[in-house]
Structures are given as C-alpha cells and as structure tokens.
C-alpha cells in the first residue's frame, strides 16, 4: 500500500499533540490532500479523530482526563482580560503581535484572576509557555519573545460557545 509522503512525520507530530499549521508547516498540504485517508487511519488505528479547521489540523481523543486544554483556556482568558484592561484590542494583539516572556509573566501574576491560575498546574510562566510551544500554539522567537499561532482561534471559538451557552441558560430563567 502506498502511504502519503512524509506519512511517518505526520503521524508522529499529530500523535505528539501538535497543531499542524497551514502557514508554517508543509505537512498541512499533504494532510489536506489526503484528509479522508488520515481520518480513517487515525480512527481505525488509535480511535482518535483528526479535526480540520480553516488553518490547522489537530488530533482529538475522548479521553476525559486531558487537563491541558483547560489550563490553556484559563491562561488565554487571563491574557485577553488583562490586555483589554489596558485599553488594547486584545484579539488583534494576540493574533498578530509579539510578546515578551517577562511581560506575560507580570501580566498574569498581577491579574485579578491569578487565583484561578494558581488552582491549576501552571507553575512557572516560562515552562508553561514551553509546553504551548511543543504543541505549536506559540512560536518561540529569539530574545525571549514569542507569538501566538493561528491555532489560537480554537480557544477564541470556544469562548464564543461559552457565551452562547450562558445566553441560553439566562434566557431559560
């Protein structure tokens, strides 16, 4: 049987929990042209589903003990709140600008939501960001800087679904 080019690399990166991004990763196009094969492959071999978004792919499983996603959402929620608090357009900043590690560390530790962050497995800001880098949610740059990748949209979309759920709940009352 013929496998798509760089099949081994694609499987490895997706199983490592990485987002495969359209802008920076040539694997994106290979997956895109073989999407039906990969859907069947991951579902049959591992019981995982490959999710296709506009600008990225990633694998998802139904394991309920995955906590990292919650930690990430809390972190991004706090960054968004604090940037807005400074009177800035947080969405544009998170999507397009470059952040410094120390700047983010000061921002989250001075936040009124820091108690929420303390209740999760956050630890050191730099180590947490390194974990985000491993799954391609941020791209590390030179000089202690980084930028968020397009995978951030997954969490922005999630925030919108939370709001919808809240509105439905409020309307029922």
């Amino acid at each position: 049987m013929d496998y798509p080019n760089q099949h081994q690399q694609i499987v490895k990166e997706l199983l490592d929990g990485k987002f495969i991004l359209s802008q920076s990763n040539p694997l994106y196009e290979i997956i895109k042209s073989n999407i039906e094969f990969y859907k069947a492959f991951f579902h049959t071999s591992f019981g995982y589903d490959i999710l296709q978004k506009k600008t990225y792919f990633f694998l998802t499983s139904n394991e309920s003990n995955e906590k990292f996603s919650r930690d990430i959402t809390i972190f991004i929620g706090i960054i968004s709140y604090e940037l807005d608090n400074e009177g800035k357009n947080f969405q544009d900043l998170i999507r397009f600008s470059i952040f410094e590690y120390d700047q983010v560390d000061v921002m989250v530790r001075g936040s009124v939501y820091f108690n929420v962050l303390e209740s999760i497995d956050f630890g050191d800001t730099r180590r947490f960001l390194a974990r985000l880098s491993r799954i391609n949610l941020i791209e590390e740059l030179e000089g202690d800087k980084f930028r968020f990748t397009e995978a951030i949209d997954l969490f922005f979309d999630f925030a919108l679904t939370v709001l919808e759920q809240k509105k439905e709940k409020t309307a029922k009352k």
Binding site: Q8, V11, K12, L14, L15, D16, G17, Y48, F58, L59, T60, S61, N62, E63, N65, E66, F68, S69, R70, I72, T73, I74, I76, G77, I78, S80, Y81, D84, N85, G87, F90, Q91, V112, Y113, V116, S119, I120, I135, L154, F155, F156, F158, A159, L160, T161, V162, L163, Q165, K166, K167, T170
Partner: protein
C-alpha cells in the same frame, strides 16, 4: 421546641443547597420571603417549610411572611462567593469603633480592661477586613458582569449603572482605603499598629504583651490585604467607565468561563502518548516482551549415558550450619571440628580457604561464648596452604540474670 442537631442542619444545607440559593435569591429580590412564594417553593422541592423555622434558617414575621436569618445568609453567600454590597456608611462605622477603642487603649491601665479592649480591637479589625474583602469582590463581580454584558443591556443603561457603582460604592470605598487621608480607616490602623508594636515589647504584663503581639500581627496582615484590595479598586474599578466602552463577545465568553472554569467542557486536545509509533528501538522492545511471554521448553539433563554429572555450585547455607553448631555445643577445638564437618559435607569439592572463613564468621555471634588456651594451637590444611590457628572452645552463652534489688 427541641433544638435541631447542628450536624442535621448542616446536612440539610448541603443536601438542599440549590433550594437554599433560590431562597436567598428570593430574600434578596423582595427583601423578605413572602409566605405564598415560600410554600410554593417548598412544595416544589418536597420540603416541609416548618423545618426551615426549626432549623433556624428563616424567622417568621408578625404579618405571616418570613425573613432569612442573617448568619445563614452570610454563610451561604460566603461559601458561594456571592457577596452583598454594604453601604459605605456601614463600612465607615469601623472608623469610629476602631478610633474609640484606640483612644480607650491609650488611657487604660487596668489589665482586665486592657484584655477586653485588645480582644475587641482584634475582632473589629477582622470584621473590617472581611467587609472590605467581600465588598471589593462583590464590586469586581458587578463590574465584570457589566463588562461582559451577557444580558445585552443598552449602552446608556450600562453607563448609568457603572456611574452609580462608581459614585455610590467605589469612590467612597477608595476614600476609606486611602492611606494618605487622615480620616481613613487605614490611617487609623497605622496608629493602632504603632501602639501595638510599642506595647508588645515594653508592656510589663506577659499576657498583655502576647495580646498586643497578636493585634500587631493582625494589623500587619490587614494592611497587606487592604493594599491588595486598594490595588483592585484603582486598577479594575475606578476606570470602570473607560473599560465598559468596548464590548467583545470573545472576552465575555472568557470572563464567563473564568468565573466557573470547571463548569464548561474545553476543546478536547490529544493527551500526548509516551510511546511513539515509529520507535527506532521498537524491534528490541517487542523482542524483550515476546521473550518473556513465550513458553520455554523444559530442560531435561540426561545423565544416563555415562556423561559426567553436572556439578552445581556450592552455596554456603548460613542458617543450616548455624543450626548444626548450636546442636553440637559445646565444641572443643572449633576449627578442627569445622574442618572435619565441611570435608564430610562437601564430598565433591575440597574444603577451601573461602569456605573456612565463611564457617569462622559464624562463631562471632552473640549467642556463643568463645574461650581459648593461648598455648594450644591447631593446624588446618588446605591445598598448598596450612593455617596455624588457636584451639577455640565454643559454648552456649550464659546470660546473667539481673540482680534483684533488695
């Protein structure tokens, strides 16, 4: 009426927590619990309303309606972080009480009165801190609600509400916490701290010094809390009007999520697996596992065809030899005895040097008494080696009974 067991009341509050939240909301909305509404709610939840009176959760009023008892309301609000805003006047009263107690403390010398006053001051400072904390948190929650604007309040209405919060609660609270203002509670607390600091060192009465020490520590930590709350006021609440000018659905969603981070199901990512599919050592790892699982054929040694017997290595059995020694006590000339014993024991091997030392080590045990005559020696021969050793006599150790005291 019999007083309800505290545990029973707590169990009731825990089992019917959602009912209690509805009851509190009802009380908050109408400032009273109407008889008809209460009975309807109780019927829906299958609760006997008289139980609420017995458990001291509500109090029956003259006209037949009810009110929630304060301690219950405070307790439930406290654990569910739903604080009620106090009037600035209610907070400012702490200024008067703290000032009054402080003035009395300065002029008081009677130890009993001092005890009472310092304990009273400690209580008052604690209440003050709790009140500031719950009010700041409550204002923060209100400001977040306004910012998120899930209910889609009109812009003008939103500004009106924010202005009301700022004028009526936030600015007065900020004045109370302003350390530079001599009329603030914080300023008064700094005087209390100075007094407590002096007295905790110089007061001649130990118990008074201890109480001042407690007061001093409490005022110090109160100051830390107040600075924290003051920072929230300056950073989050005073600029409220500016902050609510913009609205974002995404931010509103995040704020709702941060309120209850465990309530919503976040996007499901893949939990990283430890073993990569393409492990370069996969072959050897699999072979190891296979080798452990595969059933080995039984090995049969065939010695019937005139083959030489297989010699198994001799292992020194310490327990076995110690037992033989104990049974053979007393032993005269131990080295000679053990030499003979080992020669009989090891039929296919010579009694070598290592085994001799293994046997010798056994007698240095606390169970045996060793005696020897310096003039009497014995020779123990090995292949190519002869040892000249003393003749040891080994016997069972006699334990001396402790002398009985007369």
């Amino acid at each position: 009426m019999l007083q309800a067991e505290p545990r029973t009341v707590l169990n009731f509050l825990s089992d019917k927590f959602d009912f209690m939240l509805e009851l509190i909301a009802m009380n908050k909305h109408d400032a009273i619990i109407h008889d008809e509404k209460l009975k309807k709610l109780c019927q829906k939840e299958n609760i006997d309303w008289r139980k609420l009176v017995d458990y001291k959760i509500i109090r029956e009023l003259q006209q037949g309606d009810f009110e929630l008892r304060k301690p219950i309301e405070i307790f439930i609000n406290y654990i569910s972080e739903d604080y009620k805003l106090d009037l600035p006047e209610n907070i400012r009263k702490y200024f008067n009480s703290i000032e009054e107690i402080y003035e009395k403390l300065l002029g008081e010398e009677n130890p009993e009165s001092l005890h009472r006053l310092i304990s009273g001051m400690i209580d008052e400072v604690q209440h003050f801190i709790e009140t500031i904390e719950s009010n700041t948190r409550s204002l923060l929650n209100e400001s977040k609600e306004l910012k998120a604007n899930v209910r889609k309040i009109e812009y003008v209405e939103k500004i009106k509400k924010a202005t009301y919060f700022i004028d009526f609660y936030i600015v007065p609270l900020n004045k109370i916490l302003d350390a530079n203002h001599t009329g603030s509670v914080i300023h008064k607390l700094s005087l209390v701290r100075e007094q407590a600091n002096k007295e905790r060192i110089y007061n001649p009465d130990f118990s008074i010094r201890s109480l001042y020490e407690k007061l001093y520590n409490q005022v110090i930590s109160a100051n830390v809390e107040l600075v924290k709350n003051s920072r929230v006021l300056t950073k989050e609440l005073l600029p409220l009007l500016e902050r609510i000018k913009t609205e974002s659905q995404i931010l509103a969603g995040f704020m709702e999520f941060l309120k209850k981070p465990n309530f919503y199901d976040t996007p499901i990512l893949l939990k990283r697996t430890r073993h990569a599919t393409y492990d370069p050592d996969a072959y050897f790892a699999a072979k190891d596992i296979w080798d452990q699982l595969v059933k080995q054929d039984e090995v049969i040694l065939n010695t019937a065809d005139g083959q030489k017997d297989i010699e198994l290595p001799w292992v020194f059995d310490r327990v076995k030899f110690k037992k033989i020694i104990t049974q053979s006590l007393p032993i005269k000339n131990y080295f000679l005895w053990s030499n003979n014993l080992m020669k009989n024991e090891i039929t296919r091997q010579d009694f070598d040097f290592d085994k001799f030392f293994a046997m010798s080590a056994l007698i240095f045990d606390e169970d045996y008494d060793i005696t020897f005559d310096a003039s009497e020696r014995t020779e123990v021969k090995f292949s190519g080696l002869t040892l000249d050793v003393p003749s040891l006599t080994i016997d069972k150790k006699v334990t001396q009974k402790p002398k009985q005291e007369v």
